[in-house]
């Protein structure tokens, strides 16, 4: 058991959690100091580690043996390579900013110390997830971040909707983890290890093996890849397990920024990228990943078009952007997917924190139809939110443009499936620009639509909130500059950095085609912004008109395609019904209990009849006993003689 400084990266937040959860009550309002210092320490160590990795060092070592059972051996250990190094930077930097932001946002909350302990616990779990050198530790982090998400979504646990949302997130994720867990078992059964390096060293032995499931021959690689992908679908809220993320917005806004935008939900993308040698071996699995991503991104973007809850729109936007990342992974562009994960973390966290700042000023109001003109009252929030929106819309020069463009260009080059997802991706880019600017226009432009009292209350947020916004804005602008493609004069540094782990797909397209892809995406993005401007700035009657004309489409989108209702009627209710009506009512209540209670009744009836035998004479009893003994012994002896 050797301790190295890398251990401290996850350990510091854990220590912060332990101190705060035990002793936080004693110093209530100062709890944030311990939490922030812990995460700051992790951040500094992460930067140092990143620099080491940049110089070509890859760290892989075991801390101690966690579980040993026969040939099953798993350690708590750390693998820090290029992929992990990027994740470390994303997680610790966003976490640090969210911690600082929360000082202002959660000020005066009765559970202040509890909130900061959970944030620390989350940071620990997420860091364990990304630094683990084996699948079981990943699974540990995977479930632990889910738990923190449960705690933090249900932070306002007195509220029914918050408590429900937390529970829903946990259980929906369990469905994904069901597949994931079986995938882990399969990996162990066929490779006899769960450590990444051993898995990837032996993974070629799986090639060509098939397994028979209900009469179908399925490639082992495909099966394992898809089972692992089940976990990713749950955690990253992809179809059909996306239902929990929008409800997760019940949590405090900093939580949405950290967990449900920048870090935890991207764990699925990290998983797929980490297992890229496995996924790349199966064309079917890759196609499933690409199409799931593409369809989800379109699906979520269409829902986002009509919603009015500012946080929910951004949540659907997150689902959509995560779909983008999977789309990238599915066409083999893992590097581009991680690049998008990197830039997305900053602009999406910024969007959420900006929304939080708006809510702070609006006393918790979430309906963008009741806002308007806020740019006058909160200029910093406005400008930073604007930067994030421009970035996500994919306007050249900002972070979102470079990563999105990289994905679209590589998708364009990746065969038939690639072309299909490229078309979808381009459409989504337009929709994204539209709904992002719909928020901007409805919230910050025009006249204020709330009550007079609310207007009086409007104010810019305190500096503990605006400073993180400004720092994130720098990220939302410049995070993409590490991946400027050669065509635009850059060197795609991040792509080359990640290449040892994630590889780089071959590109056949010409420069002209690349210019075309860029041009189309930019035109589409500008078109989206322009449409939003027309509909929400210059001709405000159009949305209502459209809503009336396409009533049915609008209703379907407004109700999120009725997926929640579908699950309620096909899974939740039948299970409960079976539990209460069949199992309690019939099997346990009637059949088993009937037999059990029936036997004594039978005995009692016999007892009534045989009562005459109870004569009270001792010798009669002795006779009976002797006879019984004789019968038993003779039976035994007959038995034994055989």
């Amino acid at each position: 058991m050797t301790m190295e400084k890398y251990v401290l990266i996850p350990l510091l937040p854990l220590i912060g959690f332990c101190i705060n959860i035990w002793f936080g009550r004693f110093y209530q309002e100062k709890a944030h100091w311990i939490s922030i210092l812990a995460v700051l320490g992790s951040f500094i160590l992460s930067v140092i580690t990143f620099i080491e990795v940049l110089q070509g060092k890859v760290i892989n070592y075991d801390l101690y043996s966690w579980v040993i059972s026969g040939n099953f051996k798993v350690s708590i250990g750390f693998l820090i390579d290029q992929l992990t190094a990027i994740m470390l930077i994303v997680v610790t930097s966003v976490s640090l900013l969210v911690h600082i932001y929360s000082v202002g946002y959660m000020h005066g909350d009765s559970g202040y110390y509890r909130f900061f302990s959970y944030l620390n616990l989350f940071t620990f779990s997420m860091l364990m997830l990304v630094t683990g050198n084996n699948l079981m530790q990943l699974y540990f982090g995977w479930e632990a971040v889910g738990l923190c998400s449960y705690f933090l979504i249900g932070y306002y646990f007195r509220k029914q909707s918050a408590a429900d949302a937390g529970k829903k997130a946990f259980i929906v994720n369990r469905f994904g983890d069901f597949g994931f867990g079986i995938g882990v078992f399969m990996v162990f059964i066929y490779l006899e290890t769960l450590h990444y390096t051993d898995i990837f060293a032996n993974i070629h032995t799986l090639q060509g093996q098939t397994i028979n499931i209900l009469g179908f021959e399925i490639g082992l690689v495909t099966l394992i890849a898809l089972l692992l992908f089940c976990g990713a679908i749950g955690k990253s809220a992809q179809l059909p397990l996306h239902v929990w993320l929008a409800d997760a917005m019940e949590g405090p806004t900093p939580v949405s920024a950290l967990i449900h935008a920048a870090t935890m939900v991207t764990a699925g993308v990290f998983l797929v990228a980490r297992f890229n040698p496995l996924f790349s071996m199966s064309e079917t699995a890759m196609m499933v990943v690409a199409l799931t991503g593409a369809i989800t991104s379109l699906f979520a973007a269409t829902i986002a078009l009509v919603q009015n809850d500012i946080k929910r729109i951004i949540a659907y936007s997150t689902v959509s952007q995560l779909g983008y990342m999977f789309l990238a992974c599915g066409v083999g562009a893992y590097g581009a997917g991680i690049f998008h994960l990197f830039t997305h973390a900053y602009f999406k966290a910024l969007l959420f924190l900006g929304a939080g700042s708006v809510m702070h000023a609006m006393a918790g109001q979430l309906d963008i139809q009741k806002m308007g003109g806020l740019r006058k009252y909160m200029p910093i929030t406005f400008w930073t939110f604007m930067i994030a929106s421009v970035s996500i819309a994919g306007i050249p020069g900002l972070a979102g443009f470079f990563s999105k463009d990289e994905i679209l260009w590589l998708a364009y080059n990746a065969g038939t499936v690639g072309r299909i997802v490229w078309v979808i991706g381009t459409i989504v880019a337009g929709l994204t620009a539209f709904y992002s600017f719909r928020i901007v226009f409805l919230t910050f432009f025009g006249k204020f639509k709330g009550t007079h009292e609310e207007e009086h209350h409007l104010h810019e947020s305190p500096s503990s909130m605006t400073v993180p916004l400004m720092i994130l804005a720098v990220g939302a602008i410049s995070a993409g500059w590490v991946g400027i493609p050669p065509l635009l004069g850059g060197t795609n540094m991040i792509g080359h950095f990640l290449e040892p782990v994630l590889g780089h797909p071959h590109v056949h397209g010409t420069h002209a085609e690349e210019w075309m892809v860029i041009a189309i995406s930019v035109v589409v993005a500008l078109g989206g912004i322009f449409t939003a401007a027309v509909m929400y700035l210059w001709a405000p009657g159009i949305p209502q008109l459209l809503g009336r004309t396409f009533r049915s489409i609008y209703t379907v989108l407004w109700n999120k395609y009725y997926v929640d209702e579908l699950y309620d009627y096909t899974i939740v209710r039948p299970t409960k019904w079976i539990g209460s009506r069949i199992l309690v009512g019939v099997t346990d209540g009637k059949i088993i209990e009937g037999i059990v209670n029936g036997v004594p009744k039978l005995i009692a009836e016999f007892g009534e009849r045989f009562r005459k035998l109870q004569t009270g004479f001792l010798q009669h009893y002795a006779m009976g006993m002797a006879f019984g003994l004789f019968v038993i012994l003779s039976l035994v002896l007959i038995f034994v003689k055989q």
Binding site: G70, E143, Y150, R158, S580, V584
Partner: protein
């Protein structure tokens, strides 16, 4: 008003935590010094750990009725001493051998080949330690809850403790059977006298179920006695190879006794009634240790004595286990009674245990044993917790609760940890056990492994639902929580939290105990299965 209430709720547990933290070093020092002391002196560990509580239990009956506190203090002292005396088992255990250790053999009734023979190996040792630990907590949790017939209550608990440990240590079938049955009587009394409103029904049901099972086992024991040259020696029986037909018959005879205790589907219906009606300490003993005796019986007797039959019957056992997992979990979703829900969850969790055991591979069996310990800790803890809140609210209806997290934050944190352990979250002990079981089960029977995994989804469903109904939302005006946990309750739950996390992060501490013994068991199954095949081949050739 609201703030005033909040500040009260916030201030009170601060004092509790502060005060209890002062006790913790004292307790650690006590256990540490006790361990040093008990390792120094030489004594027959197992006999002491068995008979100290039993004799002590009888002595407590002699205490005059008016000295209630004396009865409590004596039993606390006795359970503590028994725990200290059991520590050498942990410290001096040799993990490198599958042989029985700490053995004590004396002739008892030589004419019938009955011996007083005790010993532990890697499979049984942990249960002894769990029993001595949980007994202490049973005493402390009942401190103020039991106000009538106090000395009889504590006497019964001590009698149960001694006989339970006897069951786990006996290496002579006759002795085993005596302990096995002896434990029924105080348990029956415990449920029947201090139980809930429906206690008599529950007690009789419990008694009849287990008795019928035990009688079949008795017949089985007698038959195997004749096959082993009239000896009740378990180790000698293990070296005997029974004809296959006899193995099958005996396997089912023993199954009757063990399956009822586990309890396996479909003989589980005594459990919800008994657990629900029993007083808190009774539920803890039932869930924590008593039902482990069934699964232990499979490991100690059914599998090593009748390996071919066990191997042949494994598919049936696995199917029954998976039914129990899913059935127990789904039925939990429909419960309205706090204790009943946890009781049914035991059916599901014990389904995991038997699944692991009959996977008949290393991961499965180790996971199964570990999960038994885990279940003892976690479900024991859940019943302790329910007892603690029941003492305040006097209701078990889930609908009568709500908002307990506001009124009792420290208690809520404890309950949360046990809930998470119950649904097998990584970092808790439940995860390691379930993971190994499912891995083992999946390796042996793929489809069954997959089906068993669904139990985990439903498990999260009902436990989180329960937690939400009791702890979240607005405080229910009809629930009188009074105050958060006091020092005694805090210290009762704390050791279990430590165990949950310790096993969760360092399961090797326990897995290493059983490794060699389990390997021996698996070898026995595989070797005799091969012998059987060879025999079959020879018969065919003939």
């Amino acid at each position: 008003m609201q703030t005033g209430h909040d500040s009260h709720a916030d201030k009170q547990p601060v004092n509790t935590i502060a005060r209890t933290l002062l006790y913790v070093p004292a307790i650690i020092a006590f256990v540490y010094l006790g361990a040093i002391f008990s390792v120094q002196i030489e004594y027959p560990v197992l006999s002491w750990v068995i008979f100290l509580p039993i004799i002590g239990g009888f002595l407590i009956f002699l205490i005059p009725r008016k000295h209630e506190m004396l009865a409590r203090a004596t039993s606390l002292g006795l359970t503590l001493v028994a725990f200290i005396l059991s520590l050498p088992l942990y410290i001096n255990f040799d993990k490198t051998t599958a042989k029985m250790q700490f053995t004590e053999v004396h002739n008892w009734i030589p004419a019938w080949g009955i011996k007083y023979s005790l010993g532990v190996d890697g499979i049984s040792i942990l249960f002894v330690l769990l029993s001595t630990l949980l007994s202490i907590l049973c005493v402390t949790v009942s401190w103020t809850a039991i106000t009538e017939k106090v000395k009889e209550f504590y006497g019964s608990i001590l009698l149960i403790e001694g006989s339970m440990i006897g069951v786990f240590c006996s290496l002579d079938f006759f002795l085993f059977y005596i302990f096995w049955e002896a434990m029924l009587i105080p348990m029956y009394i415990l449920i029947g006298v201090w139980g809930g409103p429906n206690r008599v029904y529950a007690a009789i049901k419990f008694f009849l179920f287990t008795l019928v099972g035990s009688l079949l086992m008795l017949v089985g024991i007698i038959v195997s006695y004749y096959y082993t040259n009239k000896s009740f020696d378990v180790l000698q029986m293990m070296n005997t190879t029974y004809p296959y037909t006899i193995q099958l018959i005996l396997f089912w005879a023993f199954f009757a006794a063990f399956a009822v205790k586990v309890p396996m589907f479909p003989v589980h219906t005594w459990l919800p009634d008994a657990h629900t009606e029993a007083p808190t300490a009774g539920s803890v003993i039932l869930a924590g240790i008593l039902i482990k005796m069934g699964a232990y019986g499979f490991l100690r007797f059914s599998i090593p004595l009748f390996p071919e039959a066990a191997k042949a019957m494994a598919p049936i056992m696995i199917v029954l286990s998976v039914i129990a997992i899913i059935y127990g979990a789904v039925i939990c979703l429909a419960q309205t009674d706090l204790k009943r829900l946890i009781a049914y969850s035991s059916v599901s969790h014990m389904g995991f245990v038997t699944l692991g055991i009959f996977a008949l591979n290393m991961q499965g069996i180790q996971g199964g044993i570990l999960q038994m310990i885990n279940h003892g800790i976690v479900t024991g803890a859940l019943f302790l917790s329910v007892g603690i809140i029941y003492e305040r609210t006097h209701t078990r209806e889930i609908a009568h609760y709500g908002g307990a997290a506001t009124a009792m934050p420290v208690y809520a944190a404890f309950f949360m940890i046990f809930t998470l352990a119950s649904i097998g979250l990584p970092g808790t002990n439940g995860f390691i056990g379930e993971f190994l079981i499912l891995l083992g089960g999946f390796m042996a029977w793929k489809l069954m492994g997959v089906l068993a995994c669904t139990g985990i989804i439903i498990g999260a469903g009902y436990m989180l639902w329960l937690y939400q109904k009791v702890f979240f939302l607005e405080t229910n005006p009809y629930a009188h929580y009074h105050e958060d946990v006091n020092e005694r309750e805090f210290l009762t739950l704390l050791p279990l939290v430590v165990l949950v996390l310790w096993i969760g992060f360092y399961p090797n501490a326990l897995l290493s105990f059983m490794e060699v013994s389990v390997q021996g068991l698996i070898d026995r199954v595989n070797v005799s299965a091969q012998q059987q095949i060879t025999q079959n081949i020879i018969e065919v050739i003939k």
